[in-house]
């Protein structure tokens, strides 16, 4: 394909994706939504089946990497103007971002090092509860908490990792699940954390006297207050994605991949195995704890459901569906699996059934996920 053709392909596909997203978000009727989901599934199927299509698309996007990124960011930043009339849609976008951040975190363990664990909910709860407790007892604000509470969650994660990494595969999954359940029971029982009632009154962020309860007014358009949170979380999501990509492309990411492939061969190459694993858990916990902190300050309330083990299960599904060790794939599936249940509220009761079916179908037909990992690219010459 020549240059102009590639430019055309890139522009059309990116605009198509954006249009699809907007259309999907703004559609209310279940029938129309189902049609759109089928269309998306067909599109993904075609992408996976036709090697030529996939190659052309990936070449076009590789050439116009920066443009596609800038266009995407501009699009995302303009979302509140499209969704100005329904704060709920902006809320869904915020939740998507939180799940993207958590999925990036889990990817260090599950995708890079193949450690399937179910402690995500504990890390999330740790972030949420520590920021709630910090702000209630020490009166620290949002901007302090996002660092302190995330760091606390990171330390918690690293400490949990020490016993967890003594085991592998199913045992690792089980022991981490046990920790997740223990954490849930702990915050549900202890008085200090408010028990089943949880803790309310987590303060909203403040920034130079700016009121986060009041939406910004742009060009005479009053946007809902969620917009403030939306922009903050977008900035963090972009920042975290860039940093996570750096880690994945570095020696550390490579080491985690070696460990995933063969631990004995890795240690016989003089590479320590336990430290990178603990590091992966710590990173995972920091990112998940960050999401928890943000969530606590956004909802202003934390309760035991924030440490429900289902969060862990959903996150594992997201990473498997998106494609292990493929950041964009994971971001896609995180957004997909956050938006879909929200748009299909009518089928709320069947949520777990649908998740289960997705996992089953993925493991049977596409164990490497929607977008499988790619080999790293190194500069030549």
């Amino acid at each position: 394909m020549n240059r102009s053709m590639q430019w055309f392909v890139f522009l059309v596909s990116e605009l198509l994706a954006m249009g699809f997203f907007l259309g999907f978000m703004m559609t209310e009727s279940t029938v129309k939504l189902t049609v759109l989901v089928v269309l998306l599934a067909l599109g993904l199927f075609g992408y996976r089946r036709s090697a030529r299509l996939a190659l052309n698309l990936s070449q076009a996007f590789t050439r116009y990497k920066l443009s596609s990124f800038v266009l995407l960011v501009l699009f995302v930043l303009s979302l509140p103007f499209f969704f100005g009339k329904s704060p709920y849609l902006i809320h869904i976008c915020i939740m998507s971002c939180l799940y993207i951040i958590m999925a990036i975190g889990l990817n260090f363990c599950l995708g890079s090092a193949n450690m399937t664990h179910f402690a995500t909910s504990a890390f999330f709860g740790m972030g949420a509860y520590s920021s709630a407790l910090l702000s209630i007892h020490l009166h620290t604000g949002f901007w302090v908490n996002i660092f302190v509470a995330s760091a606390l969650a990171g330390i918690f994660g690293a400490l949990l990792a020490i016993p967890i990494i003594k085991t592998k595969t199913y045992y690792l999954a089980l022991i981490s699940m046990a920790f997740g359940l223990i954490f849930f029971q702990f915050i549900n029982t202890v008085k200090f954390t408010g028990g089943p009632a949880g803790l309310s009154g987590v303060p909203r962020p403040s920034l130079f006297g700016y009121d986060f309860m009041k939406g910004p007014t742009v060009l005479g358009m009053v946007l809902p207050f969620q917009t403030n949170y939306f922009y903050i979380i977008i900035v963090f999501t972009i920042l975290i994605s860039i940093l996570a990509r750096r880690v994945m492309k570095s020696w550390m990411g490579l080491t985690l991949n070696y460990i995933r492939e063969d631990e004995i061969a890795t240690s016989c190459q003089g590479i320590t195995v336990s430290f990178p694993k603990i590091f992966a858990f710590a990173l995972n916990a920091i990112l998940t704890g960050f999401a928890g902190t943000f969530y606590a300050h956004y909802i202003t309330y934390v309760g035991p459901p924030d440490a429900d083990i289902m969060i862990s299960v959903v996150l594992v599904i997201i990473v498997i569906l998106g494609g292990m060790d493929n950041l964009s794939g994971i971001a896609f599936s995180a957004a997909l699996l956050t938006i879909l249940p929200e748009k299909f509220r009518a089928f709320q009761d069947y949520r777990l059934l649908i998740y289960g079916t997705i996992v089953l179908l993925m493991l049977l037909f596409r164990p490497s996920g929607l977008f499988p990992k790619k080999l790293r690219v190194y500069k030549k010459g």
Partner: protein
């Protein structure tokens, strides 16, 4: 001075004495062949030297230093490198990345470089990849030409080649090869022998211990041969010398006790 010397090392698994009071030494620049029937403790011996198993009795000396009970990571960093019997390549990674793993522990960039100076890390990785490709080129032009192929897509002889390259990437002074010719045809075995000779040209001071069932390889490249049977060392000497011993012939080379 010996490069490696084991003194009476022993390991038992339950009632089975897998390696039984074995003394084996190897000098720099020497190729030592290790032969014996299946289950005679050859691979277990390698696992003892590389620290995967800890000996119950006995001592291991490496370059004059006592290295008993060290971890595999420490042994690898001291310069003992190995290949595995049932190839343990990083199959989902590229050939060059496989070789790069040998240089990984000597990287000098920490987490702050990773997060804040990605250019520096990328430069280091690219340099490492270059060295890896050079090493691959030394053994096989084909591997060097396509170093970003997935290791899992390679045919078996190439996988073994990559595994030897990977073991050499950390510039070891002792190389342990565990049945490198397993599953190869005579032609491929001949190429393998050439490659092992090339390793010695490339690094004349390197000591090599090679486990083999193929006697042409042992006859062709091993200067000294050690024979294992039921975990015991039953003979040691040049190939010609041990090939004439009745014990060895009975235990391994297929002669019946009655004849």
């Amino acid at each position: 001075m010996d490069l490696l010397q084991t003194k009476q090392i022993t390991i038992r698994f339950g009632g089975l004495v897998a390696v039984d009071h074995v003394d084996v030494g190897v000098c720099p620049g020497e190729v030592l062949g290790l032969i014996g029937p299946n289950g005679s403790g050859k691979t277990t011996f390698f696992n003892l030297i590389t620290g995967i198993y800890r000996p119950l009795e006995g001592e291991i000396f490496y370059k004059g230093e006592r290295v008993t009970n060290r971890s595999p990571v420490e042994m690898a960093r001291k310069g003992i490198s190995r290949s595995f019997q049932n190839s343990r390549l990083f199959l989902e990674l590229s050939v060059a990345e496989n070789v790069l793993s040998g240089m990984c522990y000597r990287k000098n960039s920490g987490i702050f470089d990773t997060l804040l100076r990605p250019g520096r890390v990328e430069r280091q990785l690219t340099e490492g990849i270059h060295r890896a490709v050079e090493l691959l080129n030394l053994f096989s032009q084909e591997l060097g030409e396509d170093p970003f192929k997935k290791a899992g897509d390679l045919p078996l002889p190439d996988r073994r080649r990559v595994e030897i390259c990977r073991a050499l990437a950390s510039e070891p002074s002792l190389l342990l090869l565990d049945e490198p010719s397993a599953g190869m045809d005579p032609n491929e075995t001949a190429i393998l022998m050439d490659e092992i000779r090339r390793v010695r040209e490339y690094q004349p001071e390197i000591g090599i211990i090679i486990i083999e069932h193929d006697m042409t390889v042992i006859r062709g490249i091993a200067e000294r041969v050690v024979v294992f049977n039921y975990g015991k060392k039953i003979a040691e000497g040049t190939f010609q010398a041990i090939a004439n011993l009745t014990e060895v012939r009975q235990a391994y080379l297929g002669e019946r006790a009655s004849s």
